[in-house]
């Protein structure tokens, strides 16, 4: 029972990160109808920037802040310099370009920092506090929950309540009509990419200290897990992405706790296939999958 409690908390903590990363995927999917396969690589790049700043200044928090800014800028840059110029008539094209970005970013990181794991520090202790003899959650878990809670509710508030959120939604749903109503659709798209990339960078900063460390490929498996989370929730649904992230985090935690951590990649694949074959629109989709 203790172990179950521990694994549940651990899974929720991991799931919160997947939720944020999946949310970033959903943001771009809704705005541009592109699944950003380069998001993992972009987030790792931001994390490397944070690593450099933290190493130079000795301040974790300065690095953390710089990572978020770097994430925002990288997202805007990718949209303006690359994605804006891709022919979107075939859905293959943006995916292929995103994969080109993956190769490019990971290779550049490898050239600059080398292809070895670098230790990434956590700002708070990762050893769990015990409540009544049961190891429950660590200060770091609390930090993860708080940060992601703030970001997710902040995004939700922005989209639902602010004029810029309204513009972004309108631009995503009906770009042509939105332009006629004076919305700068291109700008909203860039803003969407920037926000998504910033959230991705945040997720990378939170998840990397809990894994092997900083590496150009550090987010590969996280990306697959987050993609699965986004699919579980239905690619179009931000709340779905959050729930999906928690589901995937819990599943992975239980699998690695009860069956061995080697099996977690396989578990992700099985879950992804199962969801796509049984409910391709995600668990919360009101409509069934696209029929051709």
């Amino acid at each position: 029972m203790d172990r179950f409690v521990f694994l549940t908390i651990d899974g929720l903590s991991r799931g919160a990160v997947y939720a944020a990363f999946a949310l970033a995927l959903v943001l771009i999917w809704r705005a541009a109808r592109v699944v950003n396969f380069a998001q993992g690589a972009m987030a790792v790049a931001a994390a490397y920037v944070a690593y450099t700043v933290s190493a130079a200044t000795g301040s974790y928090w300065l690095g953390f802040a710089v990572a978020l800014v770097a994430g925002l800028l990288l997202g805007a840059l990718v949209d303006r310099v690359v994605m804006r110029h891709v022919d979107h008539t075939s859905h293959l094209n943006p995916v292929i370009v995103a994969l080109g970005l993956v190769l490019l970013i990971q290779a550049v990181l490898g050239m600059v920092y080398g292809n070895e794991f670098r230790p990434a520090e956590a700002p708070f202790s990762r050893s769990a506090l015990t409540v009544g003899g049961v190891a429950v959650l660590s200060p770091y878990d609390l930090f993860v929950f708080a940060t992601i809670g703030v970001v997710v509710s902040g995004l939700a508030w922005m989209f639902a309540r602010t004029p810029v959120g309204l513009r972004m939604r309108a631009a995503a749903f009906a770009p042509e009509v939105s332009r006629l109503l004076g919305v700068n659709v291109g700008g909203m798209l860039t803003l969407g990419w920037a926000l998504a990339s910033g959230v991705g960078a945040l997720a990378a900063m939170l998840v990397i200290p809990t894994e092997l460390g900083l590496h150009p490929h550090a987010m590969d498996l996280v990306f697959v897990s987050a993609f699965t989370a986004a699919v579980v929730g239905g690619l179009d649904s931000p709340p779905g992405a959050v729930v999906g992230g928690l589901v995937v985090g819990l599943l992975l935690s239980y699998v690695s706790g009860y069956a061995g951590s080697d099996l977690t990649p396989l578990a992700v694949l099985v879950l992804l296939l199962a969801v796509l074959l049984v409910r391709p629109g995600g668990l919360f989709a009101p409509v069934t999958a696209r029929r051709v």
Binding site: R169, E176, S178, G182
Partner: protein, 243 residues
């Protein structure tokens, strides 16, 4: 028509536009005086919708000039046109079905610097279209055809435009609703001095409210005349409108 050119809100000269190689519009000339309603009529494929799309910059004209109150609109991005005072209600009305009625309406005034007046304009639209006020929180796709029409019109009016471009407002609506819409246009013209360029298949109801009738065929303006003349002159009607 007024001879005074400053009273002409919209002047189109030699407009050529289309999709790809062959132009759809071939040297369109058109003048709409301020505070009048012009109805562009013609068969399917005459280029009526293309004309509106070229006016609002959704397609780039290959040649010609579009002047709004004397200002050349060439090179003005689509999203800037509302700021120049032009509102375009596109074909199919363009209600964003994933947004609520209120959000759709507010979107129409988001670009305005004068937030207080934008708020007043919103209230006026709710007064003008009573049914919309009752359905503020409903999503666009939950509305009936007539309500969508009101929403699209209202959303354009929130921006307090000088020129309103309307693409097929009668499409798919009951005759009663069409009549109400047309009467409303006339009322707006009289009360606020709104200028309207309206594209219609429904020739009778369009000419009934319009000051000027413009008949298009195969990408050209074949005749532009006072609406009552087109409406009442049997020979003209036979020649250009086929009834």
């Amino acid at each position: 028509m007024s001879a005074d050119s400053t009273a002409d809100l919209l002047v189109v000269r030699g407009l050529v536009a289309g999709y790809g190689a062959a132009p759809v519009l071939q040297a369109i000339d058109l003048t709409v005086p301020a505070g009048t309603i012009a109805a562009v009529v013609g068969a399917n494929g005459a280029g009526k919708t293309t004309l509106l799309r070229a006016l609002s910059g959704m397609i780039r004209p290959a040649a010609g000039q579009v002047l709004l109150a004397g200002e050349d609109l060439r090179g003005t991005p689509v999203e800037q046109l509302v700021r120049r005072g032009m509102a375009h209600v596109p074909e199919g009305r363009g209600v964003i079905s994933e947004l609520t009625v209120d959000e759709n309406l507010r979107l129409g005034g988001l670009w305005r610097r004068d937030r207080a007046d934008a708020g007043r304009a919103l209230d006026e639209v709710y007064e003008l279209f009573e049914p919309l006020a009752r359905r503020r929180r409903h999503l666009g796709h939950q509305l009936s055809g007539g309500e969508r029409q009101m929403l699209a019109l209202g959303r354009a009016l929130v921006g307090r435009p000088r020129l309103l471009l309307l693409d097929e407002p009668s499409l798919g609506l009951a005759p009663r609703v069409v009549a109400r819409t047309m009467a409303l246009l006339r009322q707006l013209r009289d009360r606020t001095g709104l200028t309207v360029l309206l594209v219609e298949q429904n020739v009778r109801s369009a000419l009934a409210v319009a000051d000027q009738g413009v008949v298009m065929s195969l990408g050209r303006v074949v005749i532009a005349a006072p609406a009552e003349k087109l409406r009442d002159d049997v020979d003209l009607r036979h020649a250009y409108l086929g009834f």
